[in-house]
Structures are given as structure tokens and as C-alpha cells.
């Protein structure tokens, strides 16, 4: 291969886990300052020779488990790897850049967003709850809440007809039913019990339970049934603005956090992960009603996300860094990796549902970034478009990367990778 003939050479060997792109594992001699562009060219030529494939495919190259971004020799120097031996260069198909698809303009800041199928559910600071299609059609809207809506979640990821839940700073959460085509979603049950603003909500994987956390530092577990008969307690006598709604009280109240709970996520049907501004991430066992384990950090958390695929927690704090935690590790530092690229607080973060390496983050520096855990130094892509702080991001539907912020707009990016 003619990839330059001057300067010191390195021996590399291409390997891959994607069978369609397999090439024989023959060592090649390449200049040591080869970068991924040249490697791509080399590999594509190889593929054309061996498989007869004419289409140019863009690859990323993994050396020592991290994506190659620098010239190869510099990359190896970072890992203190000898340049004498044959270097295994694993290649993967490059994650394609998400492409901006839509921007949905709201009346106020967007506090929470979740996508199920093609339906985008958003909670706004103007107390409204909106449902859009990913194509930008405003389906329905309701302003039942009396304060800003901070977090929303579909009850069943696969089926929007299963209803959704919203939590608000008016100290209540609401369970709604909605069918595609309805102009108004129907509030069914009001969740009462929090004494201060509710910031976060999470629905269990089997859609039977939901958990909320807020400024009163309590984590409350509720039944997620939209059936009104599941009322556990009679309606409180106190006169509330929404008296026409039946209310529900929590099954459990888990106390332990000292400050605002900013993120609630179910790991398993009995396991909840919460992140709080008191610098801790706690894992709760709902069966036992107690704390299972906790991760103590230095900074106040703003959001956290759990991935079923790589079984680790990615969290963002009130600083510029994103940290990867492994809740199973008991020795040493539980913080496995730090991702730094944002210039202000990272306010929202979520894992990809399909890829165990990808996650996206939104920050107050008006930027949404797509990351690969194998490339901690720089994000894969910057998804620009926001003109204000990003408050929420969502990637529940693997096809759409969604983010909302203080510029009142919801940006939808189409994920072309892995489709």
C-alpha cells in the first residue's frame, strides 16, 4: 500500500467485530504518524480488494480501547504503548452525524421531554404539557398544572396510549391518558404527597410503578396504574385547585437525600437510582424500602442516566464535567472516566438505548453533544442549534435525539447510525 514511505514505520493489524467488513489479519507497515483519515483510505482500499465492496465506508479506529483521533504514534504515547510490537487496530463503522430534523417552538422554556415512538411529550415552564409528533405537528396541549412542569415520562415506552406522567413545581404529579388524535390529554390522577417542588420522575421498566423526587429530598414511589379505582386513600379534605381530580398518595417514601433529587431512574423493577444535589447518587431497593448503595462525589449532581447495556451510570454535576460511574465497583474510585468538553454546567444527560457506548449531553453552554465512551477527550459530534441553556435531552427513541432548553425550542436530530 502506498501510504507514504518516509519516516519511521509501525506495524498494525486490522481487526473487527463486524463480519461484513472483515479483512484478513495481515500486519501492515504504516508511517507512525498515520491518522484516521489515512487509515480509512487504506482500509477502504483493502475492503475493495478483498470483498469487492465499492461503497466507501467511514470507519473509526479503536486502539487500546479508545477511538483514534490523534496521529497513531501520539495516541500510543498517551497510553505508554510500545511502538515495537504489532498494534491491533480495531475498526468500527463510524457513528454517523445526527442530522437536524425539526425544531418545535414552544411558548416557554422546556423542562422535560420524552419520546415514545413518534410522539414527543414535553413539559413546559408555562405549566403546559404538549404532545408533538417528531415531524413537528402539535398534537395536543394541556395546562392542568399550576406551576412549571419539570419532568415528563410516558408510562409505556412502546405504547403512548398507556398514558404518561408529568411532575411539576406545583408539588403534584399527574397521570394522564391520551390517545393519538385527542386534542386534550386527560388528567386522570393527581399524585399528592410532596411538600415541595417535584423535579424528576421515573417509570419502572414494567410500567407498574413510578418514582418521583424533588426539593423536599424525599423519593416517593407510586403506583403507575391509570385506573382510578386504585386509589389508596380517600381524597384529602383540603381544598385544592384541582378538586375534580382523584388524588393518589405514595406507596413508599424513601428518605435519605439531603437536597434536591434531580434525577430518578429505575434500573430494575425493584431498584431505583437517584441523583441529588447533595453530591450523592443513591440506589434504592423498593422491595426493602431502603438504601442499597450510594456513590459520593465532590459536586452537586444535575442529572444522571443508567444504561442497561453497559450497566453503568453517567452523571453530570454542577461543573463542566461528565463522569462515568460503575455502581458495582467497590474498590478504588467509582468514577471510571471523565468527559470534559462543555464549558458550563452540564444539565441533562442520557444514554443511547441501542449502543452501549453512546450518550448525549446538554449543557448551559447552549450545546448538545454526542459522546462515545471510548473517546473521552472530545465528543463525537456537537449538535448545535440551541440559543439558550439546554435543560433536557432525550434519546428514548433510538432514531431521534431530542433536546429542549431555555430558547423555548425543542430540537430533534435524526440519528442515522445503526438504522
Amino acid at each position: 500500500m502506498d501510504t507514504g514511505d518516509s519516516g519511521p514505520q509501525l506495524e498494525i493489524c486490522f481487526i473487527t467485530k463486524q463480519d461484513i467488513y472483515a479483512v484478513p489479519s495481515v500486519p501492515f507497515s504504516v508511517p507512525q504518524d498515520i491518522n484516521n483519515v489515512h487509515l480509512n483510505k487504506l482500509l477502504n482500499e483493502l475492503l475493495r480488494d478483498y470483498t469487492g465492496q465499492l461503497k466507501q465506508v467511514q470507519f473509526d479506529f479503536l486502539v487500546n480501547g479508545q477511538i483514534l483521533r490523534l496521529p497513531l504514534v501520539d495516541h500510543l504515547k498517551d497510553f505508554n504503548v510500545s511502538t515495537e510490537t504489532t498494534i491491533d487496530v480495531e475498526y468500527i463503522e463510524r457513528t454517523e452525524a445526527p442530522e437536524p430534523e425539526n425544531a418545535l417552538l414552544h411558548d416557554d422554556w422546556i423542562g422535560g421531554v420524552q419520546v415514545a415512538d413518534k410522539w414527543v411529550l414535553t413539559g413546559c415552564y408555562d405549566h403546559s404539557v404538549n404532545i408533538w409528533t417528531v415531524h413537528g405537528k402539535h398534537e395536543s396541549m394541556s395546562q392542568e398544572h399550576t406551576n412549571m412542569v419539570k419532568s415528563v415520562s410516558w408510562l409505556k415506552q412502546s405504547d403512548p396510549e398507556g398514558g404518561f406522567v408529568t411532575v411539576s413545581h406545583d408539588l403534584t404529579g399527574m397521570l394522564w391518558t391520551w390517545r393519538p388524535g385527542d386534542i386534550l390529554p386527560l388528567p386522570v390522577i393527581m399524585l399528592r404527597g410532596h411538600s415541595r417542588a417535584i423535579d424528576s420522575v421515573g417509570v419502572s421498566p414494567n410500567s407498574e410503578r413510578l418514582a418521583t423526587g424533588g426539593c423536599d429530598t424525599h423519593l416517593k414511589v407510586w403506583s403507575a396504574s391509570v385506573d382510578v379505582d386504585d386509589n389508596y386513600e380517600p381524597r384529602p379534605k383540603k381544598i385544592k385547585p384541582n378538586t375534580h381530580l382523584p388524588s393518589r398518595t405514595p406507596i413508599h417514601t424513601l428518605q435519605g437525600h439531603k437536597e434536591n433529587i434531580v434525577s430518578v431512574q429505575w434500573l430494575e423493577p425493584q431498584l431505583i437510582c437517584t441523583a441529588s444535589m447533595d453530591h450523592t447518587i443513591k440506589l434504592w431497593d423498593t422491595e426493602l424500602g431502603g438504601l442499597q448503595s450510594e456513590i459520593v462525589a465532590e459536586k452537586a449532581f444535575l442529572d444522571a442516566s443508567w444504561s442497561h447495556l453497559c450497566r453503568s451510570i453517567i452523571a453530570c454535576s454542577a461543573d463542566r464535567h461528565i463522569r462515568l460511574y460503575d455502581p458495582r465497583s467497590t474498590e478504588g474510585s467509582v468514577c471510571k472516566m471523565i468527559f470534559t468538553s462543555h464549558s458550563l454546567w452540564v444539565s441533562a444527560i442520557t444514554w443511547s438505548q441501542t449502543d452501549d457506548h453512546l450518550f448525549m449531553s446538554g449543557s448551559y453552554d447552549e450545546c448538545v453533544k454526542l459522546w462515545d465512551t471510548r473517546c473521552p477527550k472530545a465528543p463525537l459530534y456537537d449538535l448545535s442549534g440551541h440559543q439558550g441553556k439546554v435543560l433536557c435531552v432525550d434519546w428514548s427513541n433510538p432514531k431521534h435525539l431530542v433536546s429542549g432548553g431555555t430558547d423555548n425550542s425543542l430540537h430533534i436530530f435524526k440519528n442515522r447510525h445503526g438504522n
Binding site: 422554556w109 415552564y125 412549571m148 406545583d170 408539588l171 411538600s195 415541595r196 417542588a197 426539593c215 423536599d216 437536597e259 434536591n260 444535589m277 447533595d278 465532590e298 459536586k299 452537586a300 444535575l302 454542577a318 461543573d319 463542566r320 458550563l344 454546567w345 444539565s347 448551559y364 441553556k389 435543560l391 431555555t406
Partner: protein, 747 residues
């Protein structure tokens, strides 16, 4: 040596037991052979015998005889001479042979290699007696076993003549006188004899002409190395030593020195001895002269003016001379004590008239001069700087700007946070107060007032949702309606029904303040009570419990400080006399104390005891504001003359530390409630965050380390930053700027 070798050869010949030839050998026959005898044989042989005589060292007579004998053969034949040689050997060795008997028994010539006198033929034991004694016997002697040694057969003349004719070896046959046997000399022996006779060295192999090795110089020196003879003292006994010895002897006699034995005895006699422990202290002066020697004062080195031939600029001109003479009365004022003079050569320099006097003065100097050691203190500038820990070790503290809260149209004069750290309230010159959500920077509420808002304070009581707002002449109690719904409604209901005041309100108080109910529009805005004052209110502050609050009207003279109570809706005037222009008041966090800052002093009053507890001196011109440490023992004061003062109330009434970090008037200071942090802000747009650690240990003074300076605000009308507040829970700090923004710095 030569003779010894010869003897050995002869011995060997004897051992061969050859038939002995008669002693009376024919001279003629030898004539043919005599050519190997040189004419000067005589001398040589005599030399030989001399050496022999030396060796034997026995009787003179014998040796004399022998010399005779030897001398005779020199004229006769060689065999004879050999015989005589043998004899001499025998005589010399006889006494030795008797002693060394084992050599016979062994029958081995053990001395074959070496020449010793023991190797004499001692088979005949007759001793050193003349042989002719045995002439008439059949034997010539006795062997070791006592057996007779038979005489060899005597031959007559004819026989010997016949033998001479017949025997070709006859010429070299000799007779052993010891045993009477004939011995035929070997070729080697003959050669040896010939060499001896020709006066050559017997050993053939000896190189006479080997190169000379000069082991010692052969040259004789003409002059000796040391000419002078040995000194006399080298052979006379030393007088000094004698003197020394006599002195030692004398000392011993007198008992001045003692022998070891005496010392031992003395030591044994001595018991525990006591001595003056501090004795040396009284001799301090004596020791000082030894240890701390004070050198004599140094004299000045002579300069160019003292030279006999000074450069012309050193010579006095007219004016200088005049001046010099003018100071006749006061000579010590003169620059020089002499007039420099120029001479062509050193020779021409006259005697120095002041010499004696100056020497005398110098002596006086040395004698009279008081001498003391000047202790010089050397302090490095680095040593004066206190050792402060690195800011990196004092984490966490705010490090970067995180959020800017924008929305106010004019300068933000004051900010405060609620107790949970969720909301922020700000008061501005645009006559509004705003409630912000801290985490997102969202303005939740804007409440309009009638005048410039000078101070907002959130009620520290968690069961109340109240904000004190000082706007113009009014102090307004505002319920912001954020946070807990229950608390909000409870606060509302608490403030709705004003309690019936049984007590008659003092006329003086009534003239100062009036509690009024808000109108409906004002109630909708959140106003719950309005206190109408007679002068403009600049500051309000809550008591830690959240029921009492203090209000300041600097222009109010003796009614400038007012304490109100929310639960009773009542105000009172604690002071009757004005002490100055009141700038700031603050409640002690735990004790019933009120801190009142006037322009220059801070007075601490006990509210229960109604007495002045302490008066702190600020040493500054104009106090701006102050804040108290949550522990209650430390006070921070910001002054308009650029200083931030830290008072430690336990330590003194003067500032413990004065921080001059700001370029212009400091306007706000604040302590963090949880972290050891404090911040100050000033008109130079800067916010400075410092580490202020207060230790529970009374022995440790507070540790103050400036950490970080933020300069993100823009200046507006020469104002920079008005107020600074910490987040109640996180190590974050808020600053209210004159540019209408509030900024959050976080770690």
C-alpha cells in the same frame, strides 16, 4: 676456596685405591712433563699454603714444615707436591675427623656437594702423628674397627723402574700417605693441577673477564659532605634535661605533682563533693572577654588627602582654607583635621606635629571607648510573609462563572437566598424584586414596589415564607409564594389576622413607624404587611429565629434603629441617644446581641441586659456593611475606604486582620453558613472569595487565605458590585452587580 676444591679431588683419587707409587719418584722421568710447571711456581704455591695455614689455624710448626715441604716440590716433581698438599690437609683436619664418626659407618660421602673440613680421609685413625713412626711396621695404621691397615707392597728400585717403563699410567700414579696405596689421577685432576700450576683459576668455567659491575662507586670524593665536626653537646650530657629532671624531682618533693599511686590514694580518700552549680554565672564577665571578644574600633584608612603628594583637587583653595580657619573654635566640625600639603618628595615631609597627640587620643579611644555588641537583626522579606496554605488544598470554593441571572433593568442592589438553596431574591433600582430559580436561572416572579429596593432579606425561619423588602420609606413583608404550598398558605393565614395590641404604642414609635395592611392589589402582589417609616430605610436584617427584625434609617437621628416583631406586629426603638450615623445592624446568631455599626465604630449591645457589651474600633473612615460568622465570634466589616476588616471578638476590639484587596470602596461582605468561606465585593467590579477558617480551639487564630477574584461584572455609574451572598448549601457565591445582572460562581 681453591685449596678446598683441590682437596676434594684428591680425596676422590684416594678412594679409588690405586696402587701407590713410591715417594721417591724419578726426577728425570718427570722432566718430559715438567714443562707444565712454570718458573714462577714458587710464589704462587707459597700463597696457596698461606691460605691453607689460615684455614687450618692449628700449630704454626706444622704449617711451617709444610711450607718447607711445599716449597721443595716446586723444584721437584708434581706428584710430590700433591702429596705434601695432602698432608697439610690431613694435619689441619684431624681434630675434626675424630668427632665425625658416622661418616665412616655410612660409607657415603655425604659432603660430596659441599666443601667442609669433615671430608678429610679418616680411614686411618692413627691421628696426627708422623708417618715414619710406622716405618718398621707391617701396617701403617688402624681403621675404625681397630683392624690394621696393611702397607702396600714395597717395591724396590728395579720394580718401580720396570713399572715406570711398563705402566703408561705411571706418571700419574701417586701414593696416598694415609693408606700407603697408589692412586691414578684422572684426566680432570691432571687438568686441574696443570691449571693451578700455570697460575690460572682452577675452574674452567669461571670467566675472569666478565664485565665489571660497580656496586659501589669507586670514585673517592675529595671533600666530605659535612665539614664541621660533631657538636660538643652531642657528647656532653644535656643541661636542660638535667634541669628538667631536677625540677620534677623538686616538684615531687614539694608535693606539687603526685605519682599515680598518690593520686589513687587521694581519690579513694575523696568522697562526694558538692559544687556550685551556677558558679560560672558570676564569672560571666570574665568569660565574655574570652568568648565574645569585642574588637577594638577600627581606624579610618588614610585617604588621598593624607598623601604627601595629593592630587591637586585635594589641596585647599582659598575659600576652603578660609572655611577651615573659620572653624578654629570648633575643630570637630572640620571635614579634615589637617590641611593637605604637597611635597616634592617624601624626604621633604616635615615631622607631623600632632603625632603624639593623635597617638594619645587613639590610646584613649581604645581605653575609654564603651564597647558593646550591636545586635543586628536580619529579617528576610520572605520571612515576614505569613505561610499560607495553597488555595488548591482549600477546595471547594467557587472557581468559575456558571449562571448569569439577567432581567433587572437597573442596578441590583441586594440579593438573598432562601434557606433551601432553591430560590434567590434580588432587589433592584428598577423598583422591583425578582425571585429566581437558582439552578436554571429562571425568573419566577417579579414583584413591583414603589421605590428603589435597598435591601431584601429572606426570613430564616423555615416555617415562614417571607421576605423583608426595604423600598424607599417602606419595609414590606412579602410572601413570594414559591416553594412549599403549605408554608405559603400558613404564612398568609398567620399574617392575615393582625393580633390585637393591648399595649399602647409609644408616641415616639408611632411617629417613627406605622404598620399598615396592604391594599388588595398589593396583597395580590404578595405584600402581607407594610411598615411606613418616617425616613428612608437602607437596611433590614432578620434575627436568627425569624420573628424579630431590625430596620435602619441612617437619617433617623436617635430613632435610626428600629426593631420589629412579625408575630406581634409591633416595633420598638431600642436606643434613645444617637451615637452616630448608623450604617449597618446585625443580630448575633445565637446570643441576644445586636451589632450596630456607625461610621467608625461597631457597638455590641446586649438586648436583654440593655447594656453596651463592647465597642470595636474599625480604624477606618466609613463602614459600609458587615456580616457575622455563623459561630458568632468573628465579624467581617466592609468599609468604603477599600478595606475589609476581620474582627475576632475574643481577641481584641481592634481588627484581627485588615484585607486591602479591593481597589475601591468595598460594598458587601458575606460568610458562608457551612463552608469556611467568605466573600467581599467592591466598586472595582471584583468579587473576592477567601478562605476564612475559624477553629474551635481558642489557641488558634482564624486562618484567612484569599482564594479567587472574579471580575465579570460591568461597571455602571462608578458602581461595581453591590452585594455578595453565598448559596446556603453549596460552595457557590452570588454577586449582584450594578450592571443589572446577578452572577453565580460555582466550584
Amino acid at each position: 676456596m681453591l685449596s678446598h676444591q683441590l682437596k676434594r679431588k684428591l680425596d676422590k683419587a684416594n678412594n679409588k685405591n690405586l696402587p701407590q707409587t713410591s715417594k721417591t719418584d724419578d726426577d728425570d722421568d718427570f722432566n718430559s712433563d715438567s714443562d707444565f710447571y712454570d718458573s714462577d711456581v714458587d710464589e704462587e704455591s707459597s700463597d696457596l699454603t698461606d691460605s691453607e695455614a689460615d684455614l687450618s689455624g692449628s700449630d704454626e710448626v706444622d704449617s711451617d714444615d709444610e711450607t718447607d715441604e711445599v716449597n721443595t716440590p716446586s723444584k721437584a716433581d708434581g706428584s710430590d707436591e700433591v702429596d705434601s698438599e695432602d698432608e697439610t690437609v690431613d694435619t689441619g683436619s684431624k681434630p675434626v675427623s675424630t668427632t665425625s664418626s658416622p661418616s665412616i659407618i655410612k660409607k657415603i660421602d655425604e659432603y660430596a656437594e659441599h666443601d667442609t673440613s669433615d671430608e678429610e680421609d679418616i680411614r686411618n685413625t692413627i691421628g696426627n702423628v708422623p708417618k715414619n713412626w710406622y716405618d718398621e711396621y707391617e701396617h701403617i695404621g688402624y681403621d675404625w674397627d681397630g683392624g690394621k691397615i696393611e702397607k702396600a707392597a714395597q717395591r724396590d728400585q728395579l720394580d718401580s723402574f720396570l713399572q715406570r717403563i711398563e705402566d703408561p699410567e705411571f706418571w700419574r700414579t701417586v701414593k696416598d700417605p694415609q693408606t700407603g696405596k697408589e692412586i691414578v689421577l684422572s684426566d680432570d685432576d691432571v687438568k686441574l693441577i696443570k691449571r693451578i700450576n700455570s697460575q690460572r683459576i682452577p675452574d674452567e668455567n669461571f670467566n675472569e673477564y666478565a664485565p665489571w659491575i660497580e656496586w659501589f662507586t669507586s670514585e673517592v670524593m675529595k671533600m666530605p659532605l659535612r665539614k664541621f665536626p660533631e657538636h660538643k653537646r652531642s657528647f656532653l650530657p644535656s643541661k636542660i634535661e638535667a634541669k628538667r629532671v631536677s625540677r620534677l624531682v623538686h616538684a615531687l618533693k614539694m608535693g606539687w605533682i603526685k605519682t599515680n599511686a598518690q593520686y589513687k590514694r587521694l581519690k579513694a580518700k575523696k568522697k562526694d563533693q558538692f559544687y556550685m552549680l551556677w558558679q560560672t554565672d558570676s564569672d560571666a564577665e570574665k568569660m565574655r572577654r574570652i568568648h565574645d571578644h569585642i574588637p577594638a574600633p577600627k581606624r579610618f584608612l588614610p585617604g588621598h588627602a593624607e598623601s604627601y603628594n595629593p592630587p591637586s583637587e585635594y589641596l585647599f583653595d582659598e575659600r576652603e582654607l578660609q572655611q577651615w580657619h573659620k572653624l578654629e573654635e570648633t575643630p570637630w566640625k572640620r571635614k579634615l583635621h589637617f590641611i593637605p600639603e604637597k611635597y616634592g618628595s617624601l624626604r621633604e615631609v616635615p615631622a607631623y606635629p600632632r603625632y603624639i597627640k593623635e597617638r594619645f587620643l587613639r590610646c584613649l579611644d581604645l581605653y575609654m571607648c564603651p564597647r558593646g555588641i550591636k545586635l543586628k537583626l536580619t529579617i528576610e522579606p520572605e520571612a515576614l510573609v505569613p505561610k499560607l496554605p495553597s488555595p488548591r488544598n482549600l477546595q471547594p470554593f467557587p472557581t468559575f462563572l456558571a449562571i448569569t441571572y439577567e432581567g433587572h433593568a437597573d442596578m441590583v442592589r441586594t440579593i438573598d437566598t432562601d434557606k433551601t438553596g432553591q430560590y434567590l431574591v434580588s432587589g433592584s433600582d428598577d423598583c422591583t424584586i425578582k425571585i429566581w430559580e437558582i439552578n436554571t436561572g429562571r425568573c419566577l416572579k417579579t414583584i413591583a414596589t414603589d421605590a428603589v429596593v435597598r435591601c431584601v432579606r429572606w426570613c430564616p425561619n423555615q416555617a415562614l415564607s417571607l421576605i423583608l423588602v426595604a423600598a424607599g420609606n417602606k419595609v414590606i413583608l412579602v410572601n413570594p409564594h414559591v416553594g412549599d404550598f403549605l408554608i405559603n398558605s400558613k404564612t398568609d393565614s398567620l399574617l392575615k389576622d393582625s393580633p390585637k395590641n393591648d399595649t399602647i404604642i409609644n408616641e415616639r414609635v408611632r411617629a417613627t413607624v406605622q404598620w399598615t395592611e396592604p391594599s388588595d392589589t398589593e396583597y395580590d402582589r404578595g405584600f402581607r404587611a407594610i411598615l411606613q417609616h418616617f425616613k428612608e430605610v437602607t437596611q433590614v436584617t432578620w434575627h436568627g429565629k425569624g420573628d424579630y427584625f431590625a430596620v435602619i434609617m441612617p437619617d433617623g437621628q436617635n430613632r435610626s434603629v428600629l426593631i420589629g416583631q412579625v408575630s406581634k406586629r409591633r416595633s420598638q426603638l431600642p436606643f434613645t441617644k444617637p451615637k452616630g450615623l448608623v450604617q449597618s445592624v446585625i443580630f448575633h446568631p445565637s446570643k441576644p446581641y445586636l451589632f450596630v455599626a456607625t461610621q467608625r465604630h461597631i457597638r455590641i449591645y446586649d438586648l436583654i441586659g440593655q447594656a453596651l457589651v463592647k465597642k470595636l474600633m474599625s480604624n477606618s473612615q466609613w463602614i459600609a456593611t458587615m456580616d457575622i460568622h455563623p459561630g458568632g465570634d468573628n465579624l467581617l466589616v466592609a468599609t468604603y475606604d477599600r478595606k475589609v476588616l476581620w474582627f475576632d471578638l475574643d481577641l481584641s476590639t481592634k481588627p484581627y486582620q485588615t484585607l486591602r484587596l479591593h481597589g475601591t470602596a468595598a460594598r458587601g461582605v458575606s460568610f458562608h453558613k457551612r463552608y469556611p468561606l467568605f466573600a467581599s465585593c467592591s466598586d472595582d467590579k471584583s468579587v473576592i472569595v477567601s478562605h476564612g477558617m475559624v477553629y474551635n480551639d481558642l489557641m488558634l487564630n482564624p486562618l484567612i487565605v484569599p482564594l479567587k477574584r472574579f471580575e465579570d461584572h460591568k461597571s455602571c455609574n462608578d458602581f461595581g458590585v453591590f452585594d455578595v451572598r453565598f448559596h446556603p448549601l453549596q460552595p457557590w457565591v452570588f454577586s449582584a452587580g450594578a450592571d443589572g445582572t446577578i452572577k453565580l460562581y460555582c466550584n
